[in-house]
């Protein structure tokens, strides 16, 4: 074989070293050990340590229930479910905030669902307190939690219930104008008199 001959593409592909996914190494702390233990059991999730006593997981929405059931062995309490509306990306981000009483570690478990037709399984069977947080997320963002029997008006009035006011495309001003009409004269259209 002529040494000056360039190797063919096929040979290149054959000889190429398999590219290993570079995962950030987990520190040798109690947080790192806990993340490693969970990731080994659930390889579909990504895990990282943010700082002391804060860890983070990213889980696909289809397997969120499975993952949380696994996590509930270490994390006894579900502190809250925060929803963030990423309007430009067309997605809702749900952050399940977990706290481990035995280890003293807070975990963010993130998952993303499309904005239209946002559906997730309920985690009421793991932590019954999820009922309240799911009702809240359903009312303010319109996310449907399959299996939660109490989704419906909770805090808002019925006329507001269908609007999902914490979505980013909900315009507070136009809503107020339609409700109060001409009586609403406290808003200055020109904004010249506004401090902020």
């Amino acid at each position: 074989m002529d040494m000056n001959e360039k190797p063919k593409v096929e040979e290149k592909v054959e000889n190429a070293q398999p590219v290993e996914e570079t995962k950030p190494e987990l520190p040798d702390t109690k947080e790192g050990k806990l993340v490693k233990e969970l990731i080994d059991k659930a390889p579909y999730a990504e895990g990282s340590v943010r700082r002391e006593r804060r860890v983070e997981f990213k889980v696909p929405a289809e397997r969120i229930h499975e993952f949380l059931e696994l996590a509930s062995e270490k994390f006894e309490m579900l502190m809250q479910i925060s929803t963030v509306d990423w309007l430009k990306e067309g997605e809702f981000e749900l952050v399940y905030q977990l706290w481990s009483v035995s280890e003293g570690i807070h975990a963010f478990v993130r998952t993303r669902v499309p904005r239209d037709n946002a559906k997730l399984p309920t985690v009421m069977d793991i932590w019954p307190v999820a009922e309240t947080y799911e009702r809240e997320a359903h009312e303010f963002f319109g996310i449907i939690f399959e299996g939660n029997p109490r989704l419906g008006p909770f805090i808002l009035e019925p006329r507001e219930y269908e609007k999902h006011p914490l979505r980013k495309d909900f315009n507070t001003l136009s809503y107020v104008k339609t409700i109060y009409g001409e009586d609403f004269d406290r808003y200055d259209e020109s904004k010249t008199n506004y401090v902020i």
């Binding site: 963030v84 706290w99 808002l156």
Partner: protein, 394 residues
Amino acid sequence: MANLEVPKELREEAKQHDMYLHPIDKDTYELFFGPQHMATENFSIILKVDGNRIERAIVNPGFLHRGFEKLAEQRPYFTNIALILRICVPESDVPENIYSMAVDEIVGWEVPERAQWIRTVVLEMARMSAWMFWIMGFGNEIGLYTAGQWAAAYRERFMRLYEELTGGRVYHIYTVPGGVRRDIPGDKWLRQLRDTVEYIKGKLKDFDEILFDNYITFERTEGVGVMDRKFALKHAVTGPNLRAVGVPYDVRKDDPYYLYPELEFEVPVLKEGDSLARTLVRRYEMEQDLYILEQLLDMGPPSGPYMVKDARLKALPRFKPPKGDAYAHVESTKGDFGAYVVSDGTHKPYRAHFRGPSQSHGVTVLEELLKGARIADVPVILKTLDNCPPDIDR
């Protein structure tokens, strides 16, 4: 009970005349408890009552909803302080602090030592004045009004100190991202605080005699609204309510912030899980809080600035933190109070979500505990859980 079902023939006859007779169950009725009831504080519970016993309770919040989270997305970072501190009125410093802590973490600010000392003192003062507020409510619920009136008067001493420190009595707008808004007024203020701590410490004995060691309190609270350890953990009950079922979880110990790692204090734990245990845990915590305040005063405020030095602080309304998110929580008298703040790099928070402790123990837990209780126990259970309705409505 007599069979009160309407006969079929009679019902059909009535139907022809446009009348619908429904079977009436004479002993069961619906009772709307609140939102005007003193014990519920702008909160309503729909009770299905059989005689004197509650069969089912449905929590009906929403009378307070003020849309803080939506408003917070439409205002600059520093302006939000004046808004979110209104989440829980008796201890308004807690929402200020968690929001500031979360923003500090996003920006990456290390709060100066002096500011940390002031923030710790302010939080402990908030806890003491909230305990006084709680005694006021609890004393009234079980009919011991004197204790409540005393507590209201003692709370006034803390209010006066707050007024001198911050300019406000109830709403302080004092803790801001990066430190505190202004320095402590001087040594006179510290002396006054020490006097107040000493004074309240002496008065705790009076409270013991009139309230905590009282036959009426024991009669009304023992064995009422019992929960067990597993139930409490599954429902994410925190604070004194969790410590009353035997779990020694305290944010100040388990996720320490500010100067708490340097302070000595105990986390009181009882096992019974009934209203009496919750009451007594609160009584022991008052002692610990006074002890913490004494230690802080002995330590004295460290010298140095009370605010971080950062050029970005000069143009406050346009202050922009980098992209990111953070969760911060502190131990309030109601439990674990948390804030989750998301920044997208603009001058307004992209999302601010608050975890009120009452969100967990004020909805599902309350509904469970009220099952089988007497009507007269409703205020007692509500007050010993220390439910703060704005936590739920926000």
